[in-house]
């Protein structure tokens, strides 16, 4: 097509009449580097303009909900890690809080603070991967390497504490799996002290960079009404002007004791979503600094309610009852009173919630995960309508999906 001539002009002058106005269908994925896993998008195009982008999902459907019904409550916790695997601990948190609420278990304050600290660590790790991969989709390779470098430090902290780098299942119903390891405070503080400097280096790479800003500004706009109507949550909703953050507006785990801001923007475009997340990272560090100061080096890390928590090691070795109790808890699990509960927490991607129905037994009757990416991805057709194909990639990046979370 000649430069400077719009498609519509061509139609009007009749130049185009031999080419019918038929649209073209283009398939993107499920194996495509920019779809962050196995997302497939069916694009209906008019030239380069997107008429409709329809996400086709299910390529990572794992059957979590069915499998969880065969697990005991404590076992099912390990499944939650594997949904949004970039931020496993916020998934853990939503799940254990739900079960604790249904059972009416009190968790020691120290354990809750540790949960806050690790949730924010997870959020930071997740946002770092988002930043790196998103900017890489825009064409800048190097940011990813910086982000992964710092994420390694987060994984080190998690590994020290929980024993594995990813999918740690560190939070358990009733508290935590283990206490903090020796030297954790110093290591964590060193990380927190270093972070502002690293954050600045990411900003140096992206802030004011015309190549990045032009790709983001005004692209993928989502109005406040649309965002709400399509059940979007998290940074997407906040970038569209709704100041909803469950940590502030519906606090759990004593989040109300912490001082932090909720970044909100009103433009609703990719640029705003980008900066909401960037600012969130700084707020996370702020929360972690406060949490670390609140956590006593020694203290309770799990409830003393023997209904759900294992007896301490020393007792198991010397006391027959304790041994039997441990055996029963590990092999058979504990019973949860009949009823239903929903608990949502603010994950890095939005409201991560669990709806659990118990029939009074040791295994959940219904185990439902309300995963944020699943709902957020619904906004994609609205975001990309009328844009260019390249903007679809930007939209996928700023929605920040994890396919494990979408497909569960």
């Amino acid at each position: 097509m000649a430069q400077g001539v719009k498609t519509d002009d061509l139609f009007e002058t009749g130049l185009h009449s031999s080419l019918s106005r038929e649209s073209m269908v283009l398939n993107l994925g499920p194996q495509h580097p920019a779809t962050h896993g196995v997302l497939r998008v069916r694009l209906t195009l008019d030239g380069e303009t997107v008429l409709h982008a329809e996400p086709v999902i299910g390529y990572l459907h794992t059957g979590f909900e069915k499998t969880a019904e065969t697990h005991t409550y404590q076992q099912a916790n390990t499944l939650t890690d594997r949904m949004d695997y970039l931020s496993p601990l916020t998934n853990n948190l939503a799940y254990v809080l739900a079960v604790e609420k249904l059972m009416g278990i009190e968790v020691p304050k120290r354990a809750q603070y540790i949960r806050v600290l690790f949730s924010e660590l997870s959020r930071l790790g997740s946002h770092l991967v988002w930043l790196g991969t998103h900017v890489m989709d825009l064409g800048a390779m190097s940011v990813l390497f910086y982000c992964l470098r710092e994420r390694e430090l987060i994984l080190d902290l998690i590994e020290q504490t929980a024993g594995v780098r990813m999918n740690p299942s560190y939070f358990r119903v009733g508290g935590l799996a283990y206490d903090l390891p020796e030297g954790f405070h110093e290591n964590c503080q060193r990380f927190l002290d270093g972070f502002p400097k690293w954050m600045q280096s990411y900003k140096n790479l992206v802030q004011g960079n015309p190549l990045i800003e032009d790709r983001l500004k005004g692209v993928g706009r989502l109005s406040k009404e649309d965002a709400l109507a399509l059940s979007a949550t998290g940074p997407i909703l906040r970038a569209s002007g709704v100041p909803m953050d469950l940590r502030k507006s519906d606090p759990y785990c004593f989040y109300d004791e912490f001082e932090f801001d909720v970044p909100v923007r009103t433009g609703g475009d990719s640029f705003d979503r980008f900066w909401v997340r960037m600012e969130e990272m700084e707020q996370s560090v702020r929360i972690m600094n406060q949490a670390l100061a609140k956590i006593d080096p020694v203290g309770a890390y799990t409830t003393t309610d023997r209904k759900v928590s294992l007896p301490p090691r020393e007792e198991i070795y010397g006391n027959m009852e304790a041994l039997i109790h441990q055996f029963k808890l590990v092999s058979g699990g504990f019973n949860v009173p009949k009823g239903e509960v929903y608990q949502g927490v603010e994950g890095p991607k939005g409201e991560m919630g669990f709806y659990i129905v118990s029939d009074g037994g040791a295994r959940p009757y219904r185990w439902r995960a309300r995963t944020p990416s699943f709902y957020n991805l619904q906004t994609m057709p609205t975001m990309t309508r009328g844009g260019l194909v390249a903007d679809v990639i930007v939209a996928i990046g700023t929605i920040d999906i994890v396919l494990g979370d979408v497909d569960k």
Binding site: P30, L60, L86, V129, N167, L403
Partner: protein, 177 residues
Amino acid sequence: MGLNQDPVKSVEEQAAERGILTTTVEKMTHWAQKSSLWPATFGLACCAIEMINVTNSRFDLARFGMEVFRASPRQADLMIVAGRVSQKMAPVVRTVWEQMPEPKWVISMGACASSGGVFDNYAIVQGVDHVVPVDVYVPGCPPTPDALLFGILKLQEKITRGLPPKYRELAAAGGPA
């Protein structure tokens, strides 16, 4: 100086002294193949994140000549199946594998890809070897980047020793590829 000056040394040794190495064509091909495996980017689930980590500065996959992850399977000769394979994804995995040029290798990364892992259910294929022939299995959930590196080194060892890729082995035994 002629090659026959020192009767105690073999021809190869004398050549080596002059900076010439001799080998067989076969060995050289294997050496070249193992030192420039090009993996296809094929991330599926959690394990894929650890696969990405393997390329970062800490683990530095580039040391082994394989940092060029190719987005197109037609340019790749190694498929790292990183994560759980669902029933819906299985045909896609097979197609991608078939698109890769020969010779090609497959690493099954993680418990899910190797055996279904914790997901013994309707949705997950119980081991990617039901779909494509696997050369190396790397256990773990997820395997640490070190474990994946070890798996890759094992594959390189296999290639250096001249063992055929799994699908050729199966074909030679008369089974389906």
